[in-house]
Amino acid sequence: MSATTKTPTAPDSRTTSTSAPTSKAAALLGDRRLPVLVTAGLFLAMYITGLSRYQNYGFAEPQVFLNLFIDNGYLLVAAVGATFVILSGGIDLSVGSLIGFTTMLTAWLVERQGMPFLAVIPVALAVGAFGGFLMGYVIQNFEIQPFIVTLAGLFLFRGLCLVISKESIAIDDATVNSMAQAQVQLGVGFLSISAMVALVVLAAAFYILHYTRFGRRVYAIGGSEQSAMLMGLPQGGTKIAVYTVSGFCSALAGLLFTLYIQSGDPLHATGMELDAIAAVVIGGTLLTGGSGYVLGTLFGVLVLGLIKTIIQFEGTLSSWWTKIATGVLLCAFILIQRAMTARKKT
């Protein structure tokens, strides 16, 4: 509660930093957009490295780039949801298990109950959003830490997966097949329906976070909940809404993942909440909340996706390098964040 450390940091307040009479380098370090630029630069550098290294293996094909969206569409949607929560200063650990639960629920409803896939979509989304709402409600009304409530959510949804079935359920449904294989031609290549949905979600999140009242409230609460409350912002409702958004996004990501993998499995997407959080952090969103851009999350997801692609092209490298590389990147970006926030305080 020390008044000196925190000020509400809505995105607009970055204009004030330019007034400080500091050198250009310091101004750049203080720029809120720096982490996003660094991530974008990193993505570019990695891509160029890939180009020079695997030129003869078709890395330059536009489809390789588009595949990043196809293969990581679900992660992008989940990470967008996580961005809302992290911007508000919270954390959602239930993402991965909610994705797994959605694949399971969808597979069960379509294969075992004979429901048409199109009718399952709204059901799954409603279940996810309601799950998020419940967690948000408990966090807000009983003042229990988000970490522990969403941890309970993690257990609950993973358990419910196993209650539905311990074995994976393959999906042979014609609608699912055709949707999974549908290609949206773009001239140089194609995107899947999942990738398109992910891009639409990203655009919607960008609009909501930067151009609506709700978005500004999310930033304000993340910057300083106390100040937001004293300003008269409806912080309770906003917090619950943020977790509802995350739950909805997780369920949507689960549906996209179902399309991608065409089965339901109780172990699907284990630990994906960490990928989502890592993508958000690498994308430059401060974990303390209040500062960051959803476009940064896009680059975070793309960087993680590109690591996987490069490891695939490398051929000899084993998959565990993905984990190590993700961890190293996470560490680097956290240290960058730290350097930036430390600067701001002085």
Partner: protein, 373 residues
């Protein structure tokens, strides 16, 4: 769960003293869980002596709960400083992987010196992980949940790197002792756990160390100003936590005689945090209860055992765990207690401190709404 509150009003003073003891709820939950087993297995509490070893449900609960107790005790001190350590599961995997891969390289896997050296290597790796976490948290000032996330993500990759993605199996009698052997009729791991818990309690409650830890958790800046080396204390608790996780890693890999980089200690960090919370240690830091944590870990292990014995499909384990987390957290939440129990007997909790913040929220909401431009 709501019956004790009715009793509270009947005989106020003694019941209040009892129900307000910090171990009351954890122990009550543990006892309730143990009793649930009796109708299903009438000889649940009996302990038999076979081949000079003690067997029984209670013994196996402690045996299988040993790694969790160790990790949770380490976690308690980290949480007491206001931190959290998500990397313990990965540390378990790394320690097991290093130790087992060293032992499996030996010509004579039963050689005592080799086994000790292997365990030393594993534990040193754990300490290095702890130093790294402590460095990030205390020196770089990074949020603990994030700082430890790094090893949580990368650590399993490292463990798989060590084991080359394989599950390394070993065949070493001396190493088997620590996690699966018996000593003085009891599982050896119980002695390890008892020793660690006793040392921890002695260090934190018989010296000023515990007070210092709580002080750092209460307010790190203020502690620094009164002359406590809060950074050093923080680094120390992360090292201690990683060391406990390392010992748990030895135990787990010894019990299965194998190192699995991918699955060893999977989700143990969550169980450990759960145990700490059930034990009544506040996640906000500033106070802790080692006893509570041990009870909490036993509650979780008992829950698992209970689910086995009453014949519920084991898959629902996680749903039960989720239910327990929610119930325990709700019971610990002053706001929840005020709302639920306070509504029934208004006089009892009329003057709880929670009514004040609740009021400020409503006045804030009543104030004219302003938008951030």
């Amino acid at each position: 769960m709501s019956t004790p509150s009715a009793a509270t009003t009947a005989t106020p003073s003694r019941w209040r003293a009892l129900t307000h003891h910090h171990l009351f709820w954890p122990v009550a939950v543990l006892v309730a869980l143990l009793l649930v087993n009796v109708p299903f297995t009438p000889d649940f509490f009996s302990i038999k002596m076979t081949d000079g070893h003690l067997y029984g449900s209670l013994v196996s609960i402690v045996l299988f709960g040993s790694p969790l107790i160790l990790v949770a005790v380490g976690m308690t001190l980290v949480i007491a400083t206001g931190g959290i350590d998500l990397s313990v599961g990965a540390v378990v995997a790394i320690t097991g992987a290093l130790t087992c891969s060293y032992i499996s390289d030996q010509a004579d896997q039963n050689a005592l010196s080799a086994v000790f050296l292997a365990m030393g290597i594993g534990l040193v790796a754990a300490v290095v992980c702890g130093l790294w976490n402590g460095f990030l948290v205390a020196r770089m000032g990074i949020q603990p949940i994030i700082a430890t996330l790094i090893i949580m993500v990368a650590g399993r990759g490292v463990a798989q790197l060590i084991t080359d993605g394989q599950i390394i199996t070993i065949n070493s009698e001396p190493y088997k002792l620590i996690g699966g052997g018996y000593w003085l009729t009891l599982p050896f791991s119980i002695f390890v756990v008892a020793a660690v818990v006793a040392i921890t309690v002695a260090l934190t409650r018989k010296t000023a160390l515990g007070l210092l830890v709580e002080s750092v958790g209460g307010n790190a800046e203020a502690s620094r100003l009164v002359g406590i080396r809060s950074r050093r204390i923080k680094i120390m608790v992360y090292v201690f936590c990683a060391l406990c996780a390392g010992i748990a890693g030895l135990m787990i890999s010894s019990n299965t005689s194998a190192a699995d980089g991918n699955n060893a200690g999977l989700w143990i960090e969550l169980d450990a945090i759960l145990a700490v919370v059930i034990g009544g240690t506040s996640l906000l830091g500033g106070r802790f209860s080692i006893g509570g944590t041990v009870v909490g870990a036993l509650v979780i292990q008992t829950l698992t055992t209970t689910i086995y014995t009453i014949g519920v499909p084991t898959q629902t384990n996680l749903v039960f765990k989720a239910a327990v987390v929610i119930v325990v957290c709700l019971l610990q939440s002053p706001k929840f207690r005020a709302k639920v129990f306070g509504a029934k007997s208004g006089a009892k909790s009329g003057g709880t401190p929670d009514s004040a913040p609740a009021k400020t929220v409503t006045t804030a909401e009543a104030a004219p709404k302003m938008e951030v431009s």
